[in-house]
Amino acid sequence: MTAVEPRADSDAVPDRDLALTVNGRRRRVRVEDRQLLVDVLRDNLGMTGTHIGCAGGDCGACTVRMDGQITKSCLVLAASAEGADITTIEGYSPRGTLDHVQQAFWDLDAFQCGFCLPGHLFAVRDLLDRDPDPGEDDIREALRGNLCRCTGYVNLVAAAGEAARREREDQER
């Protein structure tokens, strides 16, 4: 952790330099101590694919992968992320490509407005990395932390299963 250097002006908002790796690139930003990681990703680093649906950890639209763990970035103070390796939806798959989860989501119409989509993609990716052949209940449970208001989750669940199937098929080749 970087030490906070108190400034002469007592009204000044404490801030600090923060070093992060975002989507494989080393980034250095000046952040206020009170800033949430999601705000730094969106406002300071321009990663606006990370969405704010509730700012309280309920909806999952702000999900990123942080040091290998899927994380709701509205629940993380940016100052606590010093040195973290973060993947946002923009870096979820190599630029210009879609992974099996993304492609299955598109093929099976698993999203409508798409606002909650980053969180659902990360949650399914995380599940499939742990379990290549999840059942419906496993998928639904993996999506528990992510709200969607458009789809009723029907096609989301189906797309997660289809992505798993396509990945297993790839493995067998």
Binding site: V13, E32, G49, H51, G56, D58, D109, F115, L147, G152
Partner: protein, 815 residues
């Protein structure tokens, strides 16, 4: 004041079109064409985080706004002292209600209540001398960051004198209730009566009568993206507002009025929408407010609604007191329902008018000659409503379907059979009720398909076996009629819309349309329809929506009308262009214009397939040689059309019947639940549904919207509610309290389709998008009550949360 029980005057003065459009020659019927449906447009952008929503708009020099809201449900504002806030270094602007009076006129209503014979009043973008709900905007701050703006709110001192408040609609109707708008004398906004025959007489003479009450709690839309606006003025006085709104053109018109700016100098850009469902109908004070703040700050200003503020906006708080008379066979002889809607405080946003379809939708899919429905919107000191998918139609579904089950229970007849005995038969269409001209329907067939899909007989057998073990399984049927595409002359809620189709020299095609998409896919479907007309690849058709500088005037997104209006208009424009292009091809190729097919990217002679031009060659030739070559005398490859009128009946007939809605999709639902009688917890085990919205352009998108609507209905039936505390403040401020369904809460919804075309629309389509909410709410309500049946109690309070269900069990069903 007494309101008059007559149809709204504007409905009587509007024109009376009732034409059945002829299918144009040579147009392929939808079901005859490709089974291929294009994937959702811009899916790759959304999947990779590169799609832009309103909060992603950040012009250089952007400042941020925060809004101070009333902590009181009812109070006089004696004064506002903003001096300390203004003195803060980071603060650029502080605006109070008194300051704003000279800067903006009162706000135009999304739906002016007086159009339908209701009382009305004026509202401003910030409260001036009185607040009437917790959360009402009182002052606004602009600062360099949102955190600084929010911090400065604490430095604004408002001197309130609290007044008595009323939160309950029944209490608000009492003589001694606090009155919200003194000039009205009481709290009743109006009265919508819908009646035919002699309901009271028929009920009095009926061999069997059931009377009961059904209460529905205050619910909320909860789109994943909240509202937001970014305003920017150019030095020359032009205003751009980026807005997460469902109605960009009407919003522009209203901004021009409110701000005193010529309408052509206002540009509204409806950004990609993260869900609307009615929450983003225009009329909010924040719309002109953010523009004012930007003008005062001389910089772009952004305001994004917090989730807590979003949850202020209400819907669906209704009480039904119904009475039904029926014969030994369960056939309804007379029906009455007095519906009271607690609309919160009136506001310029549109939601209060959900009380109209709540009554109008009766008697739903049933042939009931004698009925008397009254729907009464009542103002209270809760926050106002805005639209919520279902728009009141779900109320009729819940009450009617509950009534069908109560009749079944009373007579010992299967609930499905009671419905069959009361449905309007297929041969009776088109069918008139007091305020609907129903287009077409095969209701019994849809119900029977739903029962088959659900395995109804097997469910009943499972239920019997479970009951023998003391478990409370419940099977519920819900049938929903969903009036769609409403047209209310005098408002901007219109039943038509406008599209422009433009063919470029390269053969690329642009569609510019007045309908917008809340994320449901109509842009993909409109491109699909236009590509079919030209026989070109769907990828060659671009669709622009929501930008008032680019698109023809239109009304946006509501009441499941996008394809029937904007889509049909685009098809008509494309057909006109096709004729022009065929004429040109005829001149160039010396062939009969009527004998050209547009297919596979080419314009091909039907008699000689060798005689052809590519679509692009033809387009370019018309641009390059038009007016210069013989026969190429119409080089304008751009056409703007509105859709044809269909099944509107604004002028009442000799019996006083009128129909403001042209299209009547319906759906049948079957739910299986288990009720835990010890905890009151309801688990939804299985769900099946059949929908019928006529001809379908994009089956995947129709299904997707139904899944979403059904999930919203399930949430509304079982979990979703915004309770109010005695202090007059809403208690659900986050998704920890407002419980929308999560993936593990729901089973996979089984869905199949039936297609009964509308005889009145260009494409045979009926509205799609809203259907499913009411059927789901009704099916769950009936399923839970069916589960409770061995206990001899009813639960008539929605949502059916564990405390509600337990209370029903303990108190014996007393409401």
């Amino acid at each position: 004041m007494t309101t008059t029980p007559t149809p709204p005057h504007s409905l009587r003065t509007a024109p009376e079109p009732d034409t059945v459009p002829d299918p144009p020659p040579g147009a392929p019927a939808l079901h005859e064409t490709d089974g291929h449906q294009p994937l959702r447009r811009d899916g790759d952008l959304l999947l990779t985080g590169r799609a832009q929503f309103v909060d992603d708009i950040a012009p250089r020099g952007l400042l941020h706004a925060a809004i101070l809201r009333s902590p009181h449900p009812h109070a006089v504002i004696r004064g506002v002292d903003a001096s300390r806030a203004r003195a803060r270094e980071e603060v650029e602007v502080v605006l109070t209600g008194a300051d704003a009076v000279d800067l903006a006129t009162p706000l135009p209503h999304f739906f002016e209540p007086s159009i339908v014979g209701c009382r009305t009043t004026e509202f401003r973008c910030l409260a001036v001398d009185r607040v009437r709900w917790v959360g009402e905007p009182v002052a606004a701050v602009v600062a360099s960051s949102l955190a600084e703006a929010e911090a400065a709110l604490a430095d604004i001192v408002v001197d309130y004198e609290p007044l008595p408040a009323v939160l309950d609609a029944d209490e608000a109707l009492r003589d001694d209730a606090p009155v919200l708008f003194e000039e009205w004398g009481d709290n009743r906004l109006g009265l919508f009566p819908f009646a035919e025959g002699d309901a009271a007489g028929k009920i009095a003479a009926a061999p069997h009568v059931v009377r009961d009450e059904l209460r529905v709690g205050r619910q909320h839309v909860a789109p994943m993206e909240t509202r937001g606006y970014v305003a920017q003025w150019e030095p020359g006085g032009r205003l751009t507002l980026w807005a997460s709104t469902q109605n960009p053109h009407p919003l522009r018109t209203n901004l021009a009025t409110t701000l005193g700016v010529p309408e052509d100098r206002v540009r509204v850009v409806a950004t990609r929408m993260g869900g609307g469902f009615g929450h983003k109908f225009n009329g909010y004070g924040e719309e002109p407010l953010v523009c004012l703040l930007s003008r005062l700050a001389d910089a772009p200003v952004k305001w994004i609604e917090t989730r807590k503020d979003c949850l202020l906006v209400g819907a669906r708080e209704f009480t039904h007191r119904f009475e039904v008379g029926f014969d030994d066979d369960g056939v309804v002889l007379g029906l009455a329902d007095r519906i009271v809607g607690n609309i919160g405080c009136l506001a310029p946003w549109g939601g209060w008018s959900m009380t109209f379809p709540a009554g109008m939708t009766f008697p739903g899919p049933y042939r009931i000659a004698d009925y008397a429905i009254e729907s009464v919107p009542v103002v209270t000191n809760k926050a106002p409503w805005n639209g919520f998918r279902g728009y009141g139609k779900e109320q009729a579904a819940m009450a009617l379907e509950r009534i069908m089950d109560l009749i079944a229970e009373h007579r010992g007849i299967d609930p499905a059979e009671v419905r069959r005995r009361n449905f309007i038969p297929p041969e009776a269409f088109p069918f008139w009720t007091a305020a609907k001209h129903l287009d077409s329907g095969e209701y019994a067939a849809a119900l029977d398909k739903a029962l088959a899909l659900a395995g109804y007989d097997a469910l009943r057998a499972r239920q019997e076996a479970a009951r023998a073990q003391g478990r409370h399984l419940g099977v519920g049927i819900g049938f929903e009629l969903t009036p769609e595409g409403g047209d209310f002359a005098g408002s901007f809620v219109r039943g038509f819309d406008t599209s422009t189709v433009r063919v470029h020299p390269s053969g690329a095609v642009s569609v510019l349309t007045g309908v917008t998409s809340p994320g449901t896919g109509n842009e993909t479907s409109i491109a699909h329809l236009v590509a079919r007309e030209f026989g070109i690849a769907v990828e060659a058709v671009g669709v622009t929506q929501g930008d008032t500088d680019a698109c023809p005037y239109g009304f946006g997104n509501f009441t499941s009308r996008s394809l029937a209006t904007g889509g049909a208009a685009a098809v008509l424009a494309a057909r006109e262009l096709r004729e022009r292009m065929a004429d040109a091809a005829s001149a160039l190729l010396d062939a009969d214009a009527a004998a050209f097919d547009f297919r596979d990217g080419a314009v091909v002679s039907r008699t000689d397939p060798e005689t052809s031009l590519t679509f692009a060659e033809l387009a370019e030739t018309i641009y390059r040689r038009g007016l210069a070559a013989p026969g190429l005398d119409q080089p304008l490859l751009e056409v703007t059309r509105i859709d044809l009128p269909h099944n509107f009946h604004h002028v009442p007939d000799e019996q006083g019947r009128f129909s403001a809605y042209p299209s009547f999709p319906y759906s049948a639902h079957v739910a299986l639940v288990e009720v835990d009688a010890e905890t009151g917890v309801v688990e939804l085990l299985e769900y099946s549904a059949i929908d019928d919205c006529g001809v379908v352009v994009s089956p995947t998108f129709v299904a997707g919207q139904l899944y979403g609507a059904i999930a919203q209905g399930i949430g509304g039936a079982l979990w979703e509610e915004v309770p109010y505390g005695e202090d007059g403040a809403p208690e659900a401020e986050t998704f920890k309290h407002y419980l929308t369904p999560r993936a593990p809460d729901l089973p996979t919804i089984r869905l199949q389709h039936q297609h009964t075309p509308s005889p009145f629309t260009l494409l045979g389509t009926k509205g799609a998008g809203e259907s499913g909410v009411g059927g789901a709410m009704a099916a769950l309500l009936n399923a839970v009550n069916d589960g409770l049946r061995p206990l001899g109690v009813h639960a008539h309070r929605v949502p059916l949360t564990p405390p509600v269900v337990l209370d029903a069990i303990v108190s014996g069903g007393a409401s």
